[in-house]
Subunit: 194 residues, 2 copies
């Protein structure tokens, strides 16, 4: 399948089937991510594959306690509350325990452009998961350090995202995307034509 | 071709042939990037396609003046100097004028996780370019704002990377990558086995 078709097909999935999936496919996607370029080729990434039910539950409890604060906070902007409401997204993060695997993505702060490099690699990872017919979500916890601590991640690494992976437990249409003409300028900001 | 094979094949190219390439392929890659997920689906990206020789030269001159300062600065760490030296990378950035196209990638600072989202989309972009047989590099200028100003990018947007695109003007082996066993832990930091 062409890369564009894979990219078009992929949607962010928040409900997962508990049906097991082969670890091999998770490893395939990480192997793909490892091929990404990075600042000075420092490859500032580590991936923790979590499938232990107790650890998943601990991650979920911690994530939810912080999410709850966020969802109840007055400082959360109204447009964002509305966006969450329309999608039925609450502070509950069931996917952290129902998805058979979580891929926890870690960046080495000491490397140049570590955040940028790691997220580029996440792009590779998502397309490889889609190719294997696996659903995913790039979940960014409100307090990444609290979850990093559960996993024993050293201080000079940051937890960038937790990606639940499994078979979809919901049917979803892709959220609309910008058209090319809206996102592209030629030679100068605001210039629509070549 | 499988995503893993595309990812394996791609290498960062710093020397470009001046041979023209179809704009259509650049648009294909950006169309792919537009499919990426983003924080609250804000799609905080814009892409400026630059092929005007005068603008490319202005970008190059500005980029090089800042690169020169960086390369001559005492505060540049020795490991990084060595890395640059071994690869013959100097402050000169010929690729900014020789590559037929530059894709300037812009992030909207006002959106949540804008940097993360944009770099994830860059991952999509690079694989789509590779699929079209096009060489690329994620060049991060030393002073992104100086270049953003040339292009008229508003203050609340950041220039994240400039991606030269074209046919390769050099033959390169891929820089070595970590093995899966080095990059992956199971259930806890440092734990190598499932």
């Amino acid at each position: 399948m062409r890369v564009l078709e894979l990219a078009r097909k992929r949607r962010s999935i928040r409900k997962y089937s508990a049906k097991p999936i082969p670890l091999e496919n998770i490893l395939y996607a990480i192997e793909t991510a490892l091929q990404a370029p990075s600042g000075a080729n420092r490859q500032p990434w580590r991936f923790i594959i979590v499938n232990d039910p107790d650890i998943k539950m601990e991650i979920r409890k911690t994530a939810e306690s912080w999410e709850r604060k966020l969802h109840e906070s007055d400082s959360t902007p109204e447009w964002f509350r509305k966006w969450l409401r329309e999608r039925g997204i609450t502070w509950r993060k069931e996917f952290l325990t129902t998805a058979p695997y979580l891929i926890v993505v870690i960046a080495d702060k000491r490397a140049p452009y570590s955040r940028e490099s790691v997220w580029l690699a996440v792009g590779y990872l998502l397309l490889a998961l889609e190719e294997k017919g696996l659903a995913s979500l790039t979940y960014t916890p409100t307090n990444p350090r609290a979850i990093a601590s559960i996993l024993g991640v050293p201080e000079y690494y940051t937890l960038e995202t937790i990606i639940p992976v499994g078979l979809p437990g919901e049917d979803k249409v892709k959220e609309p995307r910008m058209r090319l003409e809206e996102a592209v300028y030629f030679n100068r900001w605001g210039s629509r034509r070549d």
